[in-house]
Amino acid sequence: MAKYVVVIGLEIHAQLLTNTKIFCSCEVDFGGEQNTRCCPVCTGFPGTLPVLNQTVVRYAIRAGVALNCEFNRYSKIDRKNYFYPDLPKAYQISQFDLPLCIEGKVKIDTGEEEKFIRVNRIHIEEDAGKLVHDDIDNISLADYNRCGVPLIEIVSEPDMSSSEEAKAYIEKVTGLLQYAGVSLCKMEEGSLRADVNVSLKLPEATKLGTKVEIKNLNSLKSIVRSIEYEIERQTKMLNTGEEIIQETRRFNDNRGVTVSMRSKEDAHDYRYFKDPDIIPVQITDEDIDAIRKELPMLIDERFDLYVKEYGLGISEAKILVANKEISDLYNGAISSYANYKAVANFIVGDLLRYVNEGELDSKNIPFTALEFADLIKMSEEEVVNKNNAKAIFKIMLEGKKSPLQIAKEEGFLMNDSVDEVEEVVTSVVSEFTAEVEGYLAGKEKLFGFLMGQCSKKLAGRANPKTIKEILEQKLAALK
């Protein structure tokens, strides 16, 4: 059986987080009754004209910076002409041969070596509306709320060679776009869509194999599964000498297979030409520099900082940078309490558990980084013990009190005061005379019992080390 080289390319569409649509001032928002977020421009009424949104261009440039792209200083907006009921003008305004960003690269981590996936281009375009099917009246219903929502399309080179790499690429691009603050990138909500191109070739072949496009992928899992299925399907075909047809296939989530889409009746001649209603954009070096400065430190840079400067472990650092809000929290906390390891441990060990279980929304953290730092400081400096620190954290999720407040109210503050400990130890020793005698007679284990009784009475207010010291002292004195 010949072993084929897998070649994968990805086209990602991300909805931009602007206030208004790309070509009109209708508000971009999610939800809403059909056709209530429209105007004559985005519904293609006669006589209407598109007016380009400045923030859309800025956000696209931000994405370009985040993905290490070059930029076309003169960038043209074009029309892509075709008929479909979700496209009111019967053309989509997009970019053809002079997109805003070109020649980028994204570093992905597949566990082995570091690999770079090249980005061919990023361009801006308008989203189409939504079609719903009504089986009662046997009609299709068009909702134009989504028409004109701004998108960036990120096209990769066919540099990926496995479903793992494809997954890593999407996760990295998604992370970068979130860091850049330009898109929410939620596949389940529709703010991120991905189409995959898969082809196989023999290792020694110079030409790429026939490309098959897969659409209708609604989750990362579908993307991985569809790639796996498609590799299998194409491998089987090539092994039996069957020709692979260049086509678009849809992934059927239920059955886990890709299915040929009935070819659209239109020939795909989009007749691209420069949109005469929109003047091309002229970007300057100053524009790009200014936008570059707006961006926060991005994923790779933070990762390097955490590992090389802060000495965190690689997997720890990966977890911290995976989510910008978490990484920001970390950065904020260590700026006040520079115990890099301890803060990282708490996040990775405790905080993220709550996030994963849905009890903490990383976008709505109910305490400040400073408060978080205080908690960890208290724990490390043994102002409270480690278990109680976890308990304090849980209460902090309610967002009402500071860790110190909570510690006081719950009585978690460990006293340095030896007096209370002495008192309690004295009372325990006099109460549990049988166990004391037993210990003094040589039953070492009873020390633990006596420790337990002291701890109980002190209800976590004392440092266990202090209790042990004083108990030992008292018992020794009785020998």
Partner: protein
């Protein structure tokens, strides 16, 4: 002199002096429309009720002493400009019932001055034509000779003004559609510099060329209209960020101005009557002290091809939205989605519109794009460069507006190629985005008007109007006999 012979300035005086009210003036025009328009067929929709309501509003504004230049003046609007609540057909079956939910910006600017809109006037379907005979609704006649075309595509605008069924009109010019009907109907028509009047609300034909322009009895009146309707519009991304003043040079001496005559515009292909009349007008300019310079525009021979390829390409895309789904004619026999859109378009569009859509689709389709559309863009650059060259040394260009006077209805409209070639004197102006005005410079042996065009530098519209006005003040125009 009758009321309908008065200029805008004269009417402004009369209205402000309370010699007449806007309601009376409007009623006067509505009566004329009732009496005369059945012969001319310029109006598709007459807005009697709303016109009188606007007139009343204008009168109270005038009474407060707050009148603007055009307050209370009755005008007609070409039916490709959106008027909120008023049917807007573009002369096409496919928009027969379309009532826009918004006004074109130019219309809003008129309404802000409380202009009276008498109604929507006829046009070639989607502005594609030079005769107004492709209108699905009213095949307008030339007031000078009812057996002849009024020109197009703004034939309704031109005829309504020439027959004095409106004081002035708004039209649109993509390849000559304001200037040529103005010349056929013996009035003045101006296409301003591209970008000076917002295209928002003007139903698009060829977006790089379309401009709204006024038709009236004089360059002065056209200038007044332009001052009102022009200006930067945030709803039009191609709208120029320049403050224009169209009336600023009216009445100034044209002595010493250099007027260029490109020889290619005066060769065979131009009727001798037309050539003689224009050259005679040029003599008048000489007497006024202007200097005449002969120049050349060698790319003129490619202009028709370049114009029609670019215009049709853009039109094929601009008209794709007419599918019977969101607005407009929907074919009743259609059962599937494909049938609905294909039949609505087939049944809703006229033949010339279909031909241009096919031509545009052809020019843009893969395999033909370079040879046709891209090449046309290159020719456009050449034409722009040739104009720039001429304007480096000259202030304006004089040409005939059309190769002929108004021809008989039915004579050439059926032949697309002949129709296209007749645009030879006007299209280069749209290709280059320059300002141009057509004014009447004579009449032929049978009394049909002959038009002369003055073309200027970009944004130098005031000079163009100044030059046209300088000729008009000494020219005796003849009214049509109705």
């Amino acid at each position: 002199m009758e009321l309908c012979d008065k200029s805008i300035i004269e009417l402004r005086q009369m209205l402000d002096d309370k010699q007449i009210s806007s309601v009376e003036l409007t009623k006067y025009y509505l009566d004329r429309i009732n009496q005369i328009d059945p012969k001319i067929e310029s109006y598709i929709t007459v807005c009697e009720e709303s016109a009188l309501a606007s007139a009343a509003k204008a009168d109270s504004r005038i009474a407060k002493g707050e009148a603007a230049t055009l307050t209370g003046i009755p005008i007609s609007i070409k039916d490709n400009m959106c008027t909120e609540g008023i049917r807007t057909t573009c002369g096409s079956k496919i928009l027969g019932d379309f009532v826009p939910p918004y006004n074109a910006t130019a219309v809003n600017k008129l309404l802000a001055e409380d202009v009276v809109i008498l109604g929507k006037v006829s046009m070639d379907e989607f502005a594609m034509g030079g005769s107004t005979q492709t209108s699905y609704y009213k095949k307008t006649k030339n007031p000078y000779d009812l057996t002849r075309v009024p020109g197009g595509s703004s034939g309704g605008s031109a005829a309504s003004v020439a027959a004095k069924l409106a004081v002035a009109a708004l039209g649109s010019d993509t390849g000559g559609s304001v200037r040529q009907p103005a010349s056929f109907c013996g009035i003045t028509g101006m296409k301003p510099t591209y970008g000076t009047v917002s295209r928002y609300g003007l139903v698009a034909f060829a977006s790089s060329f379309d401009q709204i322009g006024p038709l009236a009895h004089s360059a002065k009146d056209c200038a007044s209209l332009l001052d009102t309707i022009s200006g930067h519009d945030p709803f039009d991304g191609t709208s120029a960020n320049k403050k224009m003043n169209f009336t600023s040079k009216l009445g100034q001496n044209i002595k010493g101005l250099k007027l260029a005559l490109p020889k290619e515009f005066f060769e065979e292909g131009i009727d001798s009557e037309v050539r003689i009349a224009v050259l005679k007008a040029v003599e008048e300019y000489k007497k006024m002290g202007a200097e005449i310079v002969e120049v050349s525009m060698p790319s003129l021979k490619y202009a028709i091809a370049a114009y029609y390829l670019i215009a049709s390409a853009e039109a094929s895309s601009n008209l794709a939205r007419y599918d019977g789904i969101k607005f407009g004619y929907c074919s009743p026999s259609a059962k599937t989605y494909q049938e609905r859109i294909q039949r609505s378009r087939s049944e809703g569009f006229g033949d010339e519109v279909k031909r241009r859509i096919l031509l545009g689709t052809y020019a843009l389709s893969s395999g033909y794009y370079d040879a046709y559309y891209k090449k046309a863009l290159y020719v456009q650059q050449k034409i722009k460069a040739e104009y720039k060259n001429i304007f480096d040394t000259c202030d304006a260009i004089i040409t005939p507006t059309a190769p002929t006077t108004a021809y008989k209805i039915g004579e050439i409209e059926g032949d697309s190629v002949k129709m296209y070639l007749a645009d030879i004197c006007t299209v280069t102006v749209n290709i280059a985005g320059l300002p141009a005005v057509s004014t009447t410079c004579g009449y032929n042996a049978i009394g049909m008007p002959i038009g002369m065009s003055v073309v200027g530098k970009a944004f130098d519209d005031a000079t163009v109007l100044q030059i046209a006005d300088a000729f008009e003040v000494n020219f005796k125009s003849i009214n049509p006999r109705l």
